[in-house]
Amino acid sequence: MAVKKRLNMRKRYELLTRGLAWEPSYQPREKVFPYEDFEGIKITDWDKWEDPFRLTADSYWKYQAEKDKKLYAVMDSFAQNDGFLNVSDASYINALKIFIQGVSPLEYQAHRGFAHLARQFAGEGAQIACQMQSIDELRHIQTQIHTISNYNKYFTGMHDPFHMHDRVWYLSVPKSFMDDARTAGPFEFITSISFSFEYLLTNLLFVPFMSGAAHNGDMSTVTFGFSAQSDESRHMTLGLGIIKFLLEQHEDNVPIVQKWMDKHFWRSYRLLGIVSAMQDYMLTESPLSWKEGWKIYFEDNAGALFNDLSRYGIKMPKFHEVATAEADHLSHQVYSVFYAFSHAAGFQTTVPSAKKMDWLSEKYPDTFDKYYRPRWEMWAEMEKEGKRFFNGGLPLDCQVCQIPMVFTDVVNGNPMKPTHRVSEYKGDKYHTCSDGCRDIFENEPEKYVQALVPPQQIFQGNCGGETIPDVLNWYHFAADDGGEYHGSTDEKNWKKWHGEQSDSGSQEKA
């Protein structure tokens, strides 16, 4: 009595996930799926959709539950054992403030976006993949709030991230990125988020930065980070899967997809400028520099990927060589903006320590000592004289990426020359930070002229009042949320807690 061997994975998966949909008969198909055509994408056969991971719903729930159990055990133990006292330094927490204010709200928007796709894609394979991703993103925002709420009890700046996200000048960088994708059609959205952001670049946020969190004693953050990134592996395969599917469905899709890749690569890259500053400057100890991460996770990995996609006629995203050239400068330029404007931020900054500057010299031998160290030393000197530098004005932001005009012509060997660009549309002037952002603006000016650019809004009186304190109040920032780290509430508390600890319990802690 031979026991029949169970079906193989492919067959099993097919039986469990296919043939669940139906052809609509009461309404024409285009009314049931109204978003599928207007972007010009041609789908001839949704059944050609192949899921990269053959994960059925029952396995999905089982493994996600296991991930959460592990994560919540770590979070519990972290809270129970005052884990916050064991991070490398309180200044490190400033990176987590940017994370909860800037990144976590994007997770929620991604949840909304994929829920929309799960409804609007006509193919059942794509629907299920988007449904799972939608639930993943909700898990990410929840676990991030749960993890960081423990820090919120002890540190400033983390009390109202969603309110801040919709209003604050530097948070308009991530917000405008996601709004851009969310207001596009479904195929552009998934190209933006799953491919350009998640496949090409998300490793740079969730791998070296989270490994850095582990290195700085923050076992709580590294655990939610890696737990989220494990879902991200699935999302990356979805990103690659959808791209191949679109390219194989119809040759007319190729130029459309290429254009979206170009645009959203640059948008994602500019957004990650913030991550470069977190990675190189805000981690007290950084295991990997932004530049090293860029080499591994973009140059090598994307090189392999685009090699693979070249058979469809797809090329590396436009301006990728600019991004690679900028790897030597990016974090220094972005963190200098944070430093100069942190009196209006929900986190604190400070001049990097001598040890940190030596590390930066070592990691950036061609640029740090030549261009950036002298400025830090000048700012350190000013601070010593009691004249800590803050930029008293409001920055001019890029109309597209919304980062102040700080970038320079690195790719042509002119790192001291700004790449500020000006375009005209219907008689008005619009400013962008680079050729990459200008290109995006000029391809869809009617979209980007509507961007809500924070400094302009402040000048127009739409942000709570005329003075900086009025605006900060409107942001829900408390008086001690921003500014210089030295002398901040966070630093004072940190010293107090450790002073007490060294008298009583430091031996057990070690």
Binding site: M210, A214, L288, D300
Partner: protein
């Protein structure tokens, strides 16, 4: 032209250990990079994880999809079967 590199990253913890050891065993010449909290494997060409090897190390039956609990990231096209997971660039 040199071959494209595939990679896989696991959390560096006890539960992930059988998967980490299996990758090491089944992919001779693979490069291994331990970073805080994680292990990153990188290979020229393909990279494979075999169920049989993981089962031998762990001492019980294994569903390779358990990998989702330990995985941090991957690079390459994925081929998934009952007996192996393979990462490959075409």
């Amino acid at each position: 032209m040199s071959k494209s590199k595939t990679f896989i990253i696991f959390q560096d913890n006890a539960d992930a250990r059988p998967f980490i050891d299996a990758v090491e065993q089944d992919n001779p010449d693979i490069s291994i990079d331990y970073q805080p909290g994680m292990v990153r494997f990188e290979n020229e060409g393909e990279l494979i994880i075999r169920r049989e090897t993981v089962e031998e190390i762990i001492g019980r039956e294994v569903d390779l999809q358990e990998i989702h609990v330990h995985l941090v990231s991957i690079g390459g096209n994925i081929e998934e079967d009952d007996d192996y997971i393979r990462l490959v660039w075409n």
